[in-house]
């Protein structure tokens, strides 16, 4: 059909502020031509909770517990990055054993997060049996987290100058047992995600982020590594005990010999990182020196030291999704003078624009999910077509995505 000259050929499709594929509420405005995305506009900030403002009215120990609540999945990275920044300002040295314990917790969180992500990615394309399989595995990771920290989600393990709980000799067998369970099941997971025809059809050549765009837009974490950029704070500027351990950058060419920067490559990177994390925890258990787990166990004494500290410091950590960055300025006061939190998704928002341009509406969930933005659920999509507004709910968009999978399989 030839469109009339007066007809507008593109229409607007707003998605968000809250949407199943997006953990942090973000609003997209898509310019759509038929099924194809012509342009994307992203606007943020639907749930700004003034965490930084609240932090400037709390002492550093209280902030640890506030920082833990910034993100449910990175509930270890945020307080730890904050602790790193404060330790650098106050000149607190962390005991060697604590450095190793910190690595173990960080890598366990990465395993947990990546497996959770794998399940959500499978769900987005309508492969729900894989969602159940991966989340069954994640349950084991959560059980181990609970065993080591006492909590399943907000771990409360961080302390300025160390960690709060040790891993004693009698705890090691349980850790090894869980790691062996992951190793046994890893092959199954790898086979499903990397060899399955459906997964390949939906993820190869979709949502491409070129290396140059990744660098120019300051992307971080698996999103940038999948585009072939070697950027991983654990290796670039090793903190904790990462400098002692044997591992390397994970880019998709390690497995396939080429870098495409598509959704498939982001799956490869995350899967290989799960395997890498298992290895890192094992290395830590082997090499961990004996000694203290925290430099100053008396909290009032620690607070008195921090009250005298003056200066500014940064804490950088490679969280599951990318670099977590905390800036702290102390000025000999009970509360910090300034605190800035930068979560990885902050930098992975801009790369969505080149990723989504030229894709289909049905690809939005998997492409958006492929950067692993913090995920939560519910909401609806309003489609504005010729001024008439109708609502596409979560199920409808999900149905479109599932239908595309079926169509490709037929």
């Amino acid at each position: 059909m030839i469109p009339e000259a007066t007809t507008k050929t593109t229409y607007q499709l707003p998605i968000g502020p809250i949407h199943p594929a997006l953990k942090e509420p973000v609003a997209f405005e898509f310019e759509i031509d038929g099924e194809r995305i012509v342009d994307v506009n992203v606007s943020l900030g639907q749930v700004h909770r003034s965490v930084e403002w609240a932090g400037m009215r709390r002492n550093p120990i209280q902030i640890l517990y506030l920082a833990e609540r910034i993100c449910g999945i990175c509930s270890y990275c945020h307080p730890m990055a904050f602790a790193l920044a404060v330790e650098r300002v106050a000149g607190i040295e962390v005991p060697e054993r604590a450095d190793y314990l910190r690595v173990i917790q960080a890598e366990l969180e990465r395993i947990c997060s990546h497996i959770l992500w794998a399940g959500v990615a499978a769900h987005e394309i309508g492969f729900d049996s894989v969602l159940f399989l991966t989340w069954q595995m994640r349950e084991k990771a959560l059980d181990l987290t609970e065993y080591l920290t006492g909590n399943r989600v907000t771990k409360a393990i961080t302390m300025i100058g160390g960690v709060r709980r040790d891993i004693t000799k009698d705890m090691v067998p349980k850790v090894t047992e869980t790691l062996n369970y992951f190793k046994d099941n890893f092959e199954k997971l790898r086979h499903i995600f990397l060899d399955d025809k459906t997964f390949k059809m939906r993820s190869q050549g979709v949502g491409i982020l070129t290396k140059e765009d990744a660098l120019r837009l300051c992307a971080c974490g698996p999103t940038t590594r999948a585009s072939g950029v070697k950027k991983d704070v654990r290796l670039d500027q090793p903190y904790f005990a990462f400098g002692d351990l044997d591992f390397d950058y994970v880019t998709p060419d390690v497995l396939t010999g080429e870098v495409n920067g598509d959704v498939y490559d982001r799956i490869i990177v995350r899967l290989l990182e799960v395997k890498q994390s298992i290895g890192l925890i094992e290395q830590c258990l082997d090499k961990m020196p004996a000694g203290d787990i925290v430099s100053e166990p008396k909290i009032p004494k620690l607070l008195a030291t921090l009250k005298k500290a003056k200066g500014e410091g940064i804490g950088r950590m490679e969280a599951p999704r990318g670099e977590v960055f905390h800036y702290v300025k102390l000025d000999e006061n009970e509360y910090p003078y300034s605190w800035k939190v930068r979560a990885p998704t902050y930098n992975n928002i801009m790369p969505w624009i080149p990723m989504l341009r030229g894709e289909q509406i049905a690809d939005i969930p998997i492409v958006a999910a492929s950067t692993d933005p913090c995920m939560s659920c519910t909401n609806r999509v309003a489609v504005v077509d010729n001024g008439k507004k109708y609502v596409l709910d979560k199920e409808e968009l999900h149905r479109l995505s599932v239908e595309k999978t079926r169509r490709l399989m037929a």
Partner: protein
């Protein structure tokens, strides 16, 4: 790629290029792990007039410097922004963090955009505009990003003066039920 400089050489190259416009520069070295590998953080304060050229100079050291974020705070008479860059990533142990502080007077809190050099700086520049009440000259998208559109104009959450949000905050025990 150009030759990687040591932290001392980096500071020297900036000082040679901008002389007195670099107000101070210090190199911080931290250690981690049992092997005691070094983490290098460079802190520099530069004059606002040369800030953009400083970023351009930085791009001669590394083609694509990574901008993590810009921090900012109110010091009373001025607003200070801290641009957190990192360069030389991709090789183990080699990355250097560069934190560049710029001071803006409250009477004229403007700074030039760097989005033409580093497009990824857009969100953080927008955030600084709304949180600290500064003006980024030449920003491609002059809209609020984190604060909702119905938030009152002229209130800047990170300010510590009369334009700060203090009067909007109430303690729960003071709220009449």
């Amino acid at each position: 790629m150009t030759k990687q400089l040591t932290p001392e050489e980096i500071v020297k190259s900036f000082k040679d290029e901008f002389e007195t416009k670099i107000k101070y520069a210090r190199i911080e070295k931290h250690i981690a792990g049992t092997k005691k590998n070094e983490l290098i953080h460079i802190w520099m304060s530069v004059d606002r007039s040369v800030f953009k050229n400083v970023v351009k100079h930085l791009m001669t050291l590394e083609e694509y410097p990574h901008l993590a974020v810009t921090s900012g705070y109110d010091t009373g008479k001025t607003i200070e922004l801290v641009y957190h860059f990192s360069i030389y990533f991709g090789v183990r142990y080699r990355e250097i963090s560069l934190n560049i502080t710029v001071e803006l007077p409250k009477s004229n809190p403007t700074i030039e955009t760097i989005t033409d050099l580093i497009p990824g700086a857009l969100i953080t520049e927008q955030e600084k505009q709304e949180m600290l009440g500064i003006k980024v000259k030449g920003i491609p998208k002059d809209k609020r990003v984190f604060i909702s559109d119905d938030f009152p104009k002229g209130v800047y959450p990170w300010r510590k003066d009369e334009t700060g949000p203090e009067k909007m905050a109430r303690n729960l025990h003071e709220v009449k039920k």
